[in-house]
């Protein structure tokens, strides 16, 4: 495999983890965040501190990244998730930018110039393993009572409450799990690039993650996977058209959203069961056509 192709695959695998987390928060619990790059930054810097300064193994760095991002999200959730409406969304926006500004000015970790010399621990194999774990855990979560309670919050918050669901608790759970995923993605990114810089985690990155989740289809894990892969590859393929790249990227996203307003997978989940059901329908349709053809022949 060319190292260029491998690089893009690795980047989409890393993106996927952050997207999976955001998919839980936005697609299942119905909360929008424009600060998820902030959680990635916390993950990236925490992991780098563990492996570079304390010379700890990579998996410890990854665990620390998840824990640090989850802890930060818990604080934000505590302050904003009880408030009605869009305060949470605005708070995440402020949080993301605040993290970036703090890191910009914190010279101990390289400041705005960035932090080079992070060991290249991230490999295709550990990305793929974490991708699989990420998908399995998320799929298990959304199909449990915990996941159903989050979905209920998205669907009809007041009804969820009188059905005995502590909506604050389940929003918090979605947020914390989601931030932990972003933290892991940040840790992988830092140890892939071997260099981290605050501006890698700007609002543009947060927005990109949200776009991928919506593009893939809210409430669909397979949609998020597909979205992360397609939208990481697309800009790379478009390098050929250079300065028109972002324009073409934007138009492609808009085009697909017009064609499929609920996203690529919009509410549909790709599972062995749903695929079998789909093929069963196709077979039925084919059988029906064959019957019809036979009838027409018989009639002649």
């Amino acid at each position: 495999m060319s190292s260029y192709l491998e690089g893009i695959i690795m980047l989409s695998g890393i993106n996927l983890i952050a997207v999976l987390g955001l998919s839980l928060l936005t697609g299942f619990a119905g909360l929008f965040s424009f600060g998820h790059a902030g959680f990635m930054a916390i993950g990236a810097y925490s992991a780098a501190i563990c492996t570079t300064i304390f010379k700890l193994p990579f998996f410890v760095g990854i665990a620390a990244a998840a824990a640090a991002a989850a802890g930060a999200s818990w604080l934000i959730g505590r302050a904003t998730l009880r408030l009605k409406g869009d305060y949470f969304c605005i708070a995440t926006l402020g949080f993301g930018e605040a993290i970036r500004l703090i890191l910009d000015n914190f010279q101990g970790l390289g400041g705005a110039r960035g932090w080079p010399g992070i060991p290249p621990h991230t490999t295709l194999v550990n990305i793929l393993i974490l991708d699989v774990i990420g998908v399995v855990l998320l799929a298990n979560l959304v199909r449990s009572r915990h996941g159903r309670n989050m979905i209920a919050v998205r669907e009809e918050e007041l009804a969820a409450q009188v059905a005995g669901i502590n909506t604050f608790k389940y929003k918090m759970l979605a947020l914390v799990v989601s931030a932990a995923y972003a933290g892991v993605a940040g840790a992988l990114l830092g140890h892939y690039m071997t260099f981290i810089q605050p501006k890698m985690f700007s609002m543009v990155k947060s927005t990109e993650l949200t776009i991928i989740v919506i593009f893939g289809g809210l409430g669909s894990i397979s949609g998020s996977v597909l979205g992360a892969v397609v939208l990481t590859f697309l800009p790379e393929l478009l390098r050929a058209v250079d300065k028109w790249r972002l324009v073409v990227y934007g138009l492609a996203v808009i085009g697909i959203m017009i064609g499929r307003p609920r996203g690529l997978m919009g509410g549909f989940e790709l599972t062995p069961k749903s695929v079998r059901a789909h093929f069963a329908r196709l077979r039925e349709a084919k059988a029906a056509r064959a019957d019809q053809a036979a009838e027409e022949k018989g009639g002649l």
């Binding site: 449990s144 009572r145 915990h146 669907e155 009809e156 009804a159 409450q161 059905a163 005995g164």
Partner: protein, 255 residues
């Protein structure tokens, strides 16, 4: 018969408007009680006060002898009270089955780790939850619609689904806010029988807000009449029918 719910001096002000003003009434244990009154009388507001959706201005609510005034809405179900809404609030994009299954959550106790790792406790309890949801759906006559999306159901069945979802929480008191709204006489008749059946089968108490006089008079053993936020009268259907103030305020016009 003892009282399962006691409302004392209940008052709710929105700015200058007293939507509910010093209201007292009881709901009999095991009975079907009605809450009636003209538009804007404060009926829904009383439900919102009982279930903690609104904070009371003054007064108290007690359930089975315990004070539950201003309890958070999500704890009310745990305490034993569930409700439906005047403007149906289903989990719209979920299937009929998932609407009920979601509400069965309180019957399970597996934790987050059990969920994430699909541990044996998760499998065992999930199986029980699914059986419970299916059983409720068949009792309420929705089993053949279980895979339909809630939003696409005909209006009458949406109301029925909302009641099913409330029952999934094993309430001892069920609050129904205008369950017959938008139904034709046939459906209303069916609903009346259904409410009676539910009360007997699940051994619970019901408080129902209703505009259809036939339904209220035929179904309820006890009726509370509200007008402009105040209690006008309180008694058996016959007593209410004969009450002069009620007839003037509410029944008078040919309702």
């Amino acid at each position: 018969m003892s009282d399962i719910l006691q409302v004392r001096g209940l008052t709710k002000r929105f700015g200058g408007l007293a939507a509910v003003n010093e209201v007292d009434f009881n709901v009999r244990e095991g009975g079907i009680s009605g809450l009636i009154g003209p538009n804007g009388a404060g009926k829904t507001t009383i439900f919102n006060l009982i279930t903690g959706v609104y904070k009371v201005t003054s007064g108290s609510v007690s359930f089975e002898g315990k004070d539950i005034t201003d309890t958070e809405p999500y704890r009310i179900a745990d305490i034993g009270i569930t409700r439906t809404f005047q403007n149906i609030r289903l989990f719209k994009n979920l299937t009929v089955f998932d609407n009920v299954l979601t509400a069965c959550h309180a019957s399970a106790s597996y934790n987050l780790a059990d969920s994430l790792l699909r541990l044996p406790r998760f499998r065992r309890e999930e199986k029980t939850l699914k059986e419970k949801a299916l059983e409720l759906l068949s009792i309420l006559g929705l089993a053949d619609r279980k895979d339909a999306i809630a939003n696409g159901l005909p209006y009458g069945l949406q109301r029925r689904l909302e009641i099913t979802r409330a029952l999934a929480l094993d309430p001892r008191l069920l609050l129904l806010d205008e369950p017959a709204a938008g139904m034709n006489p046939d459906e209303t008749e069916q609903l009346m029988r259904l409410i009676g059946d539910i009360r007997n089968r699940f051994k619970l108490s019901v408080l129902v807000i209703e505009h259809h006089m036939d339904l209220v008079m035929g179904l309820c053993e006890h009726i509370v009449v509200l007008n402009f936020g105040q209690k006008l009268a309180d008694g058996t259907p016959d007593a209410i029918r004969g009450d002069k103030r009620v007839v003037e305020a509410y029944l008078g016009g040919g309702e």
